[in-house]
């Protein structure tokens, strides 16, 4: 192990030789193609959604769930491969991802139980935006 000033030299430990580089690059390119294909699928679904909905009768909830799944898939590949988090040790991975699992659980709670349950009520809307409410609720002129 390489040391510098008494500490392991992690900067140098991360290095690899030309031969190992070929495999690494191949993996990176595979992830790139995957991200590209997912993006193309997303754009296509977004473009043709009205037709898809018309012919299959799927509800918009499925669209939202599908897009969130695609997004998390892409995010996972970016973080694990491009940001090399998959190559870090277990403690490091958990330290970074842990807070977000807690955050996501809180987000679900917030959406389903607290804010998500009342924020659509008209009584709460007026407080925030008089301009919109006026446009929507003022009696029509002329």
């Amino acid at each position: 192990m390489e040391f510098q000033d008494g500490f392991p030299n992690y900067e140098v430990l991360a290095q690899h030789d030309n031969e190992a580089g070929i495999g690494v690059r191949k993996r990176l390119m595979n992830v790139f193609w995957l991200l590209l294909v997912i993006t193309l699928i997303e754009v296509a679904i977004g473009w043709f959604w009205n037709d898809i909905q018309h012919s299959t009768g799927l509800s918009k909830t499925w669209l939202i769930i599908g897009f969130i799944m695609f997004t998390l898939l892409k995010a996972g590949y970016i973080v694990m491969t491009f940001m090399h988090l998959g190559d870090e040790n277990k403690a490091m991975r958990w330290m970074i991802l842990g807070p977000y699992f807690a955050f996501i659980i809180y987000l679900i709670y917030m959406t389903a139980v607290t804010e998500g349950a009342y924020s659509g009520e008209p009584a709460h809307r007026n407080l925030l935006n008089p301009v919109t409410e006026m446009a929507k609720e003022a009696p029509a002129h002329h």
């Binding site: 192990m1 510098q4 030789d17 690059r25 790139f32 193309l40 892409k74 006026m134």
Partner: protein, 239 residues
């Protein structure tokens, strides 16, 4: 500089770090964790307002239909192109990191140069999109506006922080400006940092230093910017 078998480890005395990561990379991760929470706050707020104004919230697919040099109706194609450009520059970035691990200076310079180019194209694309959004359509839309202390209903074209022709609620345009603006500024600063890394690689700073970890840290930031765009693309444009 570096020597094997150090007799007396300094610092906390444990020899190796439990995270097995250099402090520079660790602190870049700390910064990204907090920055991601800032973006999360913006996106959660967007979700909240979308839900609150669900009946008047427009469909982004119907608004972002423009493409340069053509009047064709191309929903999401321009945003798709921006996404593609950012993914591409992410790949060139990660290839620069990989080349750095092999201490291949020429390859690092090449890939960093392409990353800077990709980032600059993205910033330019966003400028164009903002311009189209602010300019608006020819017809505009009827909006209640506060003029000289009076609420009057008049044609309004384009968008600002008070009114926009896309929706009766100003929040739609506000979130467009805030979310893509905050992200765009990250891209802009990323391009500047990438340019610094490019120049340092070109002038051989990392060769003298013995490692290319700076590229790796810059890469973490740049991939984070791409990561955020993945979420913005979904939550602002697609849904």
């Amino acid at each position: 500089m570096s020597s094997h078998a150090v007799a007396k480890p300094q610092g906390w005395g444990g020899g190796t770090s439990p995270l097995a990561t250099s402090h520079g990379k660790l602190f870049m991760w700390f910064f990204l964790i907090s920055d991601a929470l800032t973006f999360s706050a913006l996106l959660v707020a967007l979700g909240f307002f979308r839900h609150k104004y669900a009946d008047v919230w427009p469909v982004s697919t119907d608004i972002f239909t423009h493409f340069p040099f053509t009047h064709a109706h191309l929903p999401l194609i321009y945003v798709g192109w921006m996404t593609f450009d950012l993914i591409l520059s992410s790949v060139t970035m990660v290839l620069a990191v990989e080349a750095g691990h092999r201490k291949d200076q020429k390859a690092v310079v090449l890939w960093m140069g392409l990353t800077v180019l990709g980032g600059a194209i993205f910033v330019g694309s966003q400028v164009w999109e903002w311009w189209i959004f602010i300019e608006g359509s020819v017809d505009g839309a009827m909006r209640w506006q506060l003029i000289d202390g009076q609420w009057v209903e008049k044609i309004f074209t384009g968008a600002n922080l008070q009114y926009n022709e896309y929706s009766v609620t100003p929040h739609y345009a506000n979130f467009f400006f805030c979310v893509t603006g905050f992200h765009g500024f990250h891209v802009f600063s990323g391009v500047v940092i990438n340019m610094v890394a490019f120049i340092m690689a070109y002038t051989g700073v990392f060769e003298r230093r013995g490692h290319y970890e700076f590229i790796e840290k810059v890469g973490l930031y740049w991939h984070f910017v791409d990561l955020v765009w993945v979420f913005v693309f979904t939550f602002f444009y697609l849904l």
